[in-house]
Amino acid sequence: MTGHHRNGELQARVNALLALAEERGIVDREEIDRRIETLDRSVSPVNGARMVVRAWNDDGYRERLLGDAGAAAAELGVAGGGYSSEIRLHAVANTPELHNVVVCTLCSCYPLAWLGPPPAWYKSEAYRSRVVRDPRGVLAEFGTTLPDDVEVRVWDASAEARYLVVPMAPDGVDALPDDEQLAVVTRDCLIGVAVPQV
């Protein structure tokens, strides 16, 4: 891990960059702070959970989500902002025969604009190298064991295409109130390394 001295050095380099960006009229400190605050406050995996729970309870929404996930996110007021680029969000649905899991082997592409920054393990060389070679083994490390006859499909995200897994609704979930339904759809379920548990 980064030591205190090293951390100070890195902070100083970032300070120099922030000053340069401000001098060149690209971005000021207030906007940097605003972006960090937005990230903390409103960009989180709960956004993805809301999309999934809505899809569980509304077939029309499910169809729209699988057809155009970005538009389906916007429908729930999930902006997907941050980068003004052409990143597209794709929703991939688990079925009794198919389980989806997401990686970015080349770096750390993730539906960040919708779900917030990825977990540390998602960005690690360990996960990126291994999940494409031994997805069942990696899933088992997360406590997720799939029957042998379920196909595992690994989606390699890119700068342009980000993936969100739509897990199957677990038995009994429809008896739960909305907020408890949301809570079963964890971030790891949206990446595909876990499945919702009631």
Partner: protein
């Protein structure tokens, strides 16, 4: 396309020997969140594209790449792209 063992340090799909998955944590320091937000702002302002940003990180020589903590790679790339 992979040439020889490692053409680009980031191209690790299917490779062996990277060990266990690390513990989960968010931003560990203020500078990490700041470099993250600064990169977002630069892309949004059209200073450079997300692909240029990625490409800059991908060209970090392998030994250096693996020695850098994750967000230091970001910092390295933003420094090069902003100074250009």
């Amino acid at each position: 396309m992979r040439l020889g063992a490692v053409a680009y340090a980031n191209d690790v799909g299917g490779m062996h020997g990277f060990g266990d998955l690390p513990e989960d944590h968010g931003f560990e320091s203020v500078w990490e969140a700041q470099v993250f937000a600064l990169n977002q702002a630069c892309v949004a302002a059209g200073v450079y594209t997300l692909d240029e940003f990625r490409h800059t990180m991908e060209r970090i020589p392998p030994a250096q790449y693996y020695a850098m903590p994750y967000y230091e790679r970001w910092l390295y790339a933003v420094e090069r792209l902003l100074a250009a």
